[in-house]
C-alpha cells in the first residue's frame, strides 16, 4: 500500500513535470501515445500478470473501440462521447459473450483461442471496406464534448495523463481489494481459490471484460487523437506488442506496464532508421527480457534494490 503510494506520487510528478521539459510537438505525440497505450497495458496486465490468463487478441477489442468511434461519429454524426460509450458497451458485450467458452481453456489453448478471436476481428475490419475503408483506412474527426474540443498536443496530453492516472489508481485499488486478491489467487492456485469460495470462472470473465472495455475506450480516444485509422490497430502484431509491453515491464506490476509501454513505444522511434527491422527488435527485446529479467523490468529492479538495501 505504502509502496504503491510512493509509485503514484512519482507517476503524478512525472506526468505534471513532463510538459516543462518536452521540447516540441513530436515529443508530446510520443508521450500521449505512451500514456494511452499504458492504459491498455495496465488492463491487459490485470488479465495476464495478475490473473494468469493470456490474451493474444486484445488489439481486436481496441479496434472495435477505434472503428466504432470512427464510424458512429463519421457516418452517423454521433457525438464522440456517445460513440465511445456505445463502442465500449459493444466491446463489453462481445467480450462477455466469448469469455465463458474461451476462458474454460488453459495455457496454449487459451492463447490460440484469443489469437483466433483477434484475427477474426482484424479480418472483419479489413474486409468491411464499405464501413471501414478496408486496408486504405479511414479518417476520424476530433474529440469534443458539448462545444469544448480537445485541440492541440497540450490538451491531448492533459487528457491522456489524467486518464492514465485514473486507470493506475483504479488498478492499484483493485489489486489491493478482495476482488484483486481473488484474481491473484486464481493465478497462484486455481483449486485453492475454488475451495476458498472464489467463483473462478466468474472472476476470469469479469477481468477479461474489464480489460477489453479499457482497450476499447483507449482505442476510441486514440482514433480521435491520431485522426486516421488503419486496420493495423486491430491486427495481430499490435496484440503481440501489447503483451510485450506487459511482459517487458513486468507481470503483475502496474507501474511495470507503464514503463514497458514507454520503452516499447519509444523504441520504434529510435529504431525507425532500420525500416522494417523494428519487428525483429521487438522479438529480440522480448527474448532478452525473458532470459535475463524473467520477471520483467519493474519487479526485477524492485528485487535488486530491495536486496541492495539489506
Amino acid at each position: 500500500m505504502k509502496k504503491s503510494f510512493r509509485g503514484l506520487m512519482l507517476l503524478a510528478g512525472v506526468l505534471v513535470l513532463l510538459p516543462l521539459v518536452l521540447p516540441n510537438a513530436y515529443y508530446y505525440d510520443v508521450a500521449i501515445r505512451v500514456a494511452l497505450n499504458a492504459c491498455v497495458a495496465i488492463g491487459l496486465n490485470l488479465l495476464i500478470g495478475y490473473t494468469g490468463q493470456i490474451s493474444l487478441g486484445h488489439a481486436g477489442f481496441l479496434g472495435i473501440g477505434a472503428y466504432g468511434s470512427a464510424i458512429l461519429t463519421g457516418r452517423f454524426d454521433w457525438p464522440p462521447i456517445a460513440a465511445l460509450l456505445a463502442a465500449a458497451l459493444a466491446t463489453g458485450a462481445l467480450a462477455l459473450l466469448v469469455a465463458r467458452p474461451i476462458l474454460k481453456l488453459k495455457g496454449h489453448y487459451l492463447a490460440m483461442a484469443t489469437l483466433g478471436l483477434g484475427i477474426i476481428l482484424s479480418i472483419v475490419i479489413v474486409n468491411e471496406t464499405a464501413w471501414t475503408g478496408g486496408p486504405d483506412g479511414m479518417p476520424v474527426g476530433g474529440f469534443g464534448l458539448s462545444g469544448w474540443q480537445i485541440a492541440g498536443e497540450r490538451a491531448w496530453y492533459g487528457v491522456a495523463a489524467v486518464l492514465l492516472m485514473l486507470v493506475t489508481v483504479l488498478a492499484l485499488n483493485l489489486i489491493d481489494s478482495p476482488a484483486g486478491r481473488a484474481l491473484q489467487a486464481i493465478h497462484g492456485s486455481e483449486v485453492a481459490s475454488r475451495v476458498s469460495g472464489v467463483d473462478t470462472t466468474a472472476f476470469k470473465v469479469r477481468v477479461f471484460v474489464l480489460s477489453a472495455v479499457l482497450a476499447s475506450v483507449t482505442g476510441s480516444l486514440s482514433a480521435h487523437y491520431v485522426g486516421f485509422l488503419t486496420p493495423g490497430v486491430a491486427g495481430f502484431f499490435h496484440s503481440i506488442e501489447l503483451v510485450t509491453m506487459v511482459v517487458v515491464g513486468g507481470m503483475a506490476s502496474v507501474f511495470g506496464s507503464i514503463l514497458g509501454t514507454a520503452i516499447l513505444t519509444m523504441l520504434p522511434q529510435l529504431l525507425s532508421a532500420f525500416e522494417g527491422w523494428e519487428t525483429l527488435a521487438f522479438g529480440v527485446i522480448l527474448m532478452l527480457t525473458m532470459i535475463f529479467l524473467p520477471r520483467g523490468l519493474v519487479p526485477s529492479l524492485r528485487l535488486k534494490l530491495g536486496r541492495g538495501k539489506k
Partner: protein, 251 residues
C-alpha cells in the same frame, strides 16, 4: 454432520474409491488412514467437490452435496487444505489467508476499483483477523512476509490459517503432518485439537500413526479403495484385518 453413502470413483478402469460409507458426528476429529494408493486423497477430493463422484452420495447436514462445486461447498461451511501445498506463491502470506475470507467480503470488481468506504474498512478488519489467525496457527512472525519466503512447515500452517479464515464448520486436512519432523508433527497435533475445541469438525488424512491414534475420535481405514474397518483408535488397532493389511501382522 457429514454422511458419505456408497461413494464410488473410477478413473478409466481403476476403481479408486469403491462403495465407501461412513458418518462423521459434529464436533469430532475423524481420521482416514490407509496405505499409499488406498484412495484417501481421492475420497477428500470427492467430498470437497474437486472430483465428481461416479456413484454414491455425500450429505452435509442431511443435505445432498454430491458433486457440488468447491466454491458452493465453501459457502456451506466446508474448507480444506492440500497434500501438495496449494499456497499462492504470487501473494504475501497474509493475503493468502485473506483469500480464505473471500465469501465474507464484498468482492465486486467495481467496488474494489473505487475502494468504496465499506470495502476498505472490511478489508482492514479482514487483514487484522488474518494476522490473528496466523498467530493462532503459529506463523505470526511471517505476517509481513511474502509466501515465497516461508519455509515448508510454515506454509503447511499457513494453509490451515487460510482454511480457518473461511470460518468453516467442517475442515478437511489432507496430510497436515506430511514432511514435518517429530516436534513439528506434535505441534500440528496440538493445533488440530485447538481447532476442534473451537467447534470445528475436523477430518484428516494422515500417515503418522501416532498423531492419528492420539487425536482421532474415530478412524476409517481404507485399502484398495474400499472400507477395511472403522471405529475408535482402540477398535481399529485391535482389528485383525487392519493389522494384517496395514499396520503389519504381529506374528
Amino acid at each position: 454432520m457429514l454422511t458419505v453413502d456408497k461413494l464410488c470413483k473410477t478413473f478409466g478402469g481403476v476403481k479408486a474409491v469403491q462403495g465407501v460409507s461412513f458418518t462423521i458426528e459434529a464436533g469430532t476429529i475423524y481420521a482416514v488412514i490407509g496405505p499409499n494408493g488406498a484412495g484417501k486423497t481421492t475420497l477428500f477430493n470427492l467430498i470437497s467437490g474437486v472430483y465428481t463422484a461416479t456413484e454414491g452420495e455425500v450429505r452435509l447436514h442431511d443435505e445432498v452435496i454430491t458433486n457440488k462445486r468447491p466454491e458452493e461447498l465453501a459457502r456451506r461451511g466446508m474448507s480444506r487444505t492440500f497434500q501438495n501445498l496449494q499456497v499462492c506463491m504470487n501473494m504475501s502470506a497474509v493475503e493468502n489467508v485473506m483469500v480464505g475470507a473471500h465469501l465474507r467480503l464484498n468482492s465486486g470488481l467495481i467496488a474494489g476499483m473505487l475502494r468504496l468506504p465499506g470495502v476498505g474498512r472490511a478489508d482492514k478488519t479482514c487483514h487484522d483477523e488474518a494476522a490473528a489467525l496466523m498467530a493462532f496457527v503459529g506463523v505470526g512472525q511471517y505476517v509481513t512476509a511474502h509466501a515465497s519466503q516461508m519455509p515448508y512447515g510454515a506454509l503447511k500452517r499457513l494453509e490451515i490459517a487460510r482454511a480457518l479464515a473461511a470460518r468453516p464448520k467442517l475442515l478437511l486436512l489432507d496430510e497436515p503432518a506430511a514432511g514435518l519432523n517429530h516436534t513439528e508433527t506434535g505441534e500440528i497435533g496440538v493445533l488440530i485439537r485447538k481447532v476442534a475445541a473451537g467447534g470445528v469438525t475436523v477430518v484428516l488424512v494422515e500417515h503418522d500413526m501416532k498423531l492419528v491414534m492420539n487425536l482421532s475420535d474415530r478412524i476409517l481405514v481404507l485399502n484398495h479403495g474400499s472400507k477395511l474397518a472403522e471405529g475408535t483408535a482402540a477398535e481399529v488397532r485391535a482389528n485383525p484385518a487392519v493389522i494384517s493389511a496395514y499396520l503389519g501382522a504381529s506374528v
